[in-house]
């Protein structure tokens, strides 16, 4: 056992050194720094989408030369996903929120991407009084009391009723119903089949879509949840084919099976169009299913606000943003890059007006934003709950490898 003892001592020494490293990490902070934290899934399959959000944030920071009233702007790019889960993780999101709350130099928390993750970070940040701006969490219950909410929403997300969460993207309460309106009025759909991925976002938006369909007199043939990890939905699609719908609506993301649904619709000969929400409004969705799939399966994707292509056509700030993004990163921005930019921009403008590093003041100033037009999506305001007044929906059709905007509807 002689070697055993020696090894043991060595291991313990190593362990002690490791523990020491944990304890002392975080010392030696630089002065005059203003940190912008983003907490987005930077590993796992949502990465493509969130990379472009981060690009948007960095672009906004660059416009201020990375400096705000004498403080160096530093972007702290946190990952709320773990490699083991391949997607956002509740523990990781909570860690990020607490780390941000504990760091006195952090003035804003941009994120998260997933509404489920938002439910974890919101109470922590609310307690700390730190401004949180989400570029992508669209579950209505995070901010408003609407039908279909979980019990006690949104009060459960706010410590002592303090509002600190706002978002620059329109919620599913806009998107779900307007998608149904488009399906009925433009596509002339009479019977629809609904699938969702059973996640907070996908299931939520599918439910809102369904409700509006029923109000509009569109027959809902069925509403089923898939399991994204099964990777193959042939049987599910074959069952849908048996009901002969005019449209298949899928509430979910490109990570939770969206592309595979399109692939299996082609494979199983389901001839109706497919409609997907903003979680699929990204290049990864088209690449995942392949452009050849969409030549057989007509597919409509919806996004709250506008498509970057429309912004170019409209001119002004939006067009300038798209142009600069393309110069900087060598490709067109994805839809959510705009919201990453918008979220960071609205914070920077609010903070600039305050002129000092004071969380409470900045929070107040940003939430009071009215008629904001310095961003890329046009003029909008935050309402009393922290939602954007931008309540429009753009529906695009996938043609080749691009989203071609078809129509923009206002609520």
């Amino acid at each position: 056992m002689g070697t055993g003892k020696l090894n043991r001592r060595k291991f313990l020494a190593g362990a002690a050194a490791g523990a020491g490293a944990f304890l002392f990490a975080g010392c030696g902070k630089k002065e005059n720094v203003l940190r912008i934290v983003s907490s987005l899934p930077r590993t796992g399959s949502a990465q493509g989408q969130t990379d472009t959000i981060v690009n948007g944030i960095r672009m906004a920071m660059d416009e201020y030369n990375n400096e705000l009233f004498g403080n160096k702007l530093v972007h702290k790019d946190m990952d709320d996903a773990t490699a083991a889960q391949g997607q956002w993780d509740a523990g990781k999101e909570a860690d990020n929120a607490r780390e941000a709350a504990a760091d006195k130099d952090v003035m804003v928390f941009i994120g998260p991407y997933n509404s489920g993750a938002s439910m974890v970070s919101q109470p922590i940040l609310s307690e700390a009084g730190l401004l949180q701006v989400s570029p992508a969490a669209t579950w209505p219950g995070l901010t408003k009391k609407v039908p279909g909410n979980q019990k006690d929403e949104p009060a459960v997300h706010r410590k002592d009723g303090k509002i600190n969460f706002c978002r620059v993207c329109p919620t599913d309460f806009v998107q779900g119903p307007l998608s149904a309106v488009f399906a009925k009025e433009v596509l002339g759909v009479k019977k629809v089949y609904i699938l969702d991925d059973k996640e907070l976002y996908g299931n939520g938006i599918a439910g809102l879509f369904k409700k509006k369909c029923e109000e509009l007199g569109v027959t809902v043939l069925g509403h089923e949840s898939i399991v994204a990890s099964q990777k193959n939905f042939k049987t599910v699609i074959a069952a849908v084919r048996g009901t002969n719908p005019d449209l298949l609506y899928f509430g979910g993301t490109s990570q939770s099976g969206g592309p595979q649904i399109a692939i299996d619709m082609k494979g199983e000969g389901l001839k109706c169009p497919l409609m997907v929400p903003d979680g699929c409004y990204e290049k990864a969705f088209i690449d995942g299913a392949g452009a050849d799939t969409f030549s057989a399966v007509p597919c409509y994707a919806t996004i709250g606000g506008y498509d970057p292509g429309q912004m170019v056509a409209a001119g002004g700030n939006g067009a300038a943003f798209v142009k600069r993004y393309k110069e900087k990163y060598g490709k067109d921005p994805e839809a959510y890059a705009v919201y990453g930019y918008e979220a960071c921009k609205v914070f920077l403008e609010g903070a600039k007006a305050v002129g000092k590093k004071d969380r409470a003041e900045i929070l107040k100033a940003v939430l009071a934003t009215k008629d904001f037009d310095k961003g890329a999506v046009g003029k909008w305001s935050f309402d009393a709950d922290g939602d954007t007044s931008l309540r429009v929906l753009t529906i695009s059709k996938i043609e080749g490898t691009n989203f071609k905007p078809q129509k923009t509807i206002t609520e």
């Binding site: 944990f22 990490a25 590993t43 607490r98």
Partner: protein, 365 residues
């Protein structure tokens, strides 16, 4: 045994108890440590089943989930129960232990790998039940907020600013030390409990059973009852860990947190640390989970602030995590299969096997 060997566990606990009072203490780190303690508790629970009784169980995460959801159901505002955490945690232990017994009793006659697969299946069925029974579990949304005070009669947000240790301690440790100390104490308590259990009649019977089931049976031990006892204890402790997990996160979180990946990582923690040896399992979990949940984060943040490496998976420490995990496991199994801090009996057995086994693939435990 050297002094270091004997005293490092109490020393570690003393250091962890002292940590919040140190000037370097950070609230966030403290919260992260709290979660590590929860996983250590879970690994100790699994160790009872695998290490003591020798049953390869691949579904421990299910009991973790059952514990968390029991606490959720008994405490969240929209169910009518509204129990205190103490009651809920007790219920979590009992429910997990009972489910453990009920699910294992019929399958005890299965041998080795068949038993392992059934436990894996049980874990998956539990996960899907949690995911799909929306009326009880809120599906993928998770039950929240879980805000019951941990101990009756004590406020959750104790103002500790009066202690004034270090730089604005009270503000930083706004409420965290509370959970930190409660869960750390529970971990210490479970360590002591298991130490006594190992030395008890039951503990020695498990050793006999694990080493040679046939001989143990001939000596009048009842293998079925002993295995059930191990599963009950293990499941109960895993339920307790789940209860603390839900409390620490204030939500049961996404059901995905209780999936097969967690069971597998727990098996790795137990084996990496030293199968059957409590201090080893503790160390293994703190290292592996500490690396997973804290170190990669810190390294990534540091790398990101110092160098801008872009978004590729291979430019991040977290992108290499599985390779690092895998390599550690393989290297350990090759050169130190008994784990970092082996149990004396187990280590001897593994070392002897080098001389005794003659044919390949025939070494059966």
């Amino acid at each position: 045994m050297t002094a270091v060997g004997r005293y490092w566990v109490p020393g570690l606990f003393a250091a962890l108890f002292a940590y919040p009072f140190l000037p370097v203490a950070e609230a966030n780190r403290g919260e992260q440590f709290t979660i590590l303690f929860v996983y250590a508790l879970l690994a100790l629970a699994l160790n009872v089943v695998i290490g003591y009784a020798g049953l390869l169980h691949l579904g421990i995460a299910a009991f973790f989930g059952i514990g968390a959801y029991t606490v959720g159901i008994l405490t969240v505002p929209f169910f009518p129960f509204q129990q205190s955490f103490l009651v809920a945690a007790l219920a979590a232990v009992l429910v997990s232990a009972l489910v453990g017994i009920a699910a294992t009793a019929p399958t005890l006659r299965l041998r080795g790998d068949y038993f392992a697969l059934v436990t894996l299946g049980f874990g998956l069925i539990t996960l899907y039940a949690i995911r799909n029974l929306d009326a009880i579990t809120e599906g993928t949304k998770g039950l929240n907020p879980i805000a019951a005070g941990p101990l009756p009669g004590v406020k959750e947000n104790v103002d500790l600013s009066a202690l004034k240790v270090g730089d604005d301690w009270g503000a930083r440790w706004y409420k965290y030390p509370y959970l930190y100390f409660v869960i750390l104490s529970a971990l210490g308590g479970v360590m002591l409990l298991l130490r006594n259990l190992e030395r008890s009649r039951l503990g020695r019977a498990w050793v006999a059973l694990r080493e040679d089931e046939l001989a143990a049976t001939c000596m009048g031990l009842n293998p079925a009852r002993l295995k059930l006892a191990a599963v009950a204890v293990g499941a109960g402790l895993a339920g307790l860990a789940g209860a603390f997990y839900a409390l620490a996160l204030r939500t049961t979180g996404n059901p995905q947190a209780y999936d097969f990946t967690l069971s597998m990582i727990m098996v790795c923690c137990v084996i990496l640390g030293g199968l059957g040896n409590r201090p080893g399992v503790l160390l293994g979990t703190l290292l592996l989970m500490g690396f997973d949940r804290i170190a990669t984060n810190l390294l990534d943040n540091w790398l990101q602030e110092e160098f801008d490496l872009g978004g590729g998976a291979y430019t991040k420490v977290s992108g290499w995590k599985l390779i690092i995990f895998g390599t550690v496991l393989i290297v350990m199994m090759r050169f130190r299969p008994e784990g970092l801090l082996p149990e004396a009996r187990h280590a001897r057995e593994l070392r002897e096997s080098d001389d005794q086994a003659v044919d390949s693939g025939q070494k059966e435990k």
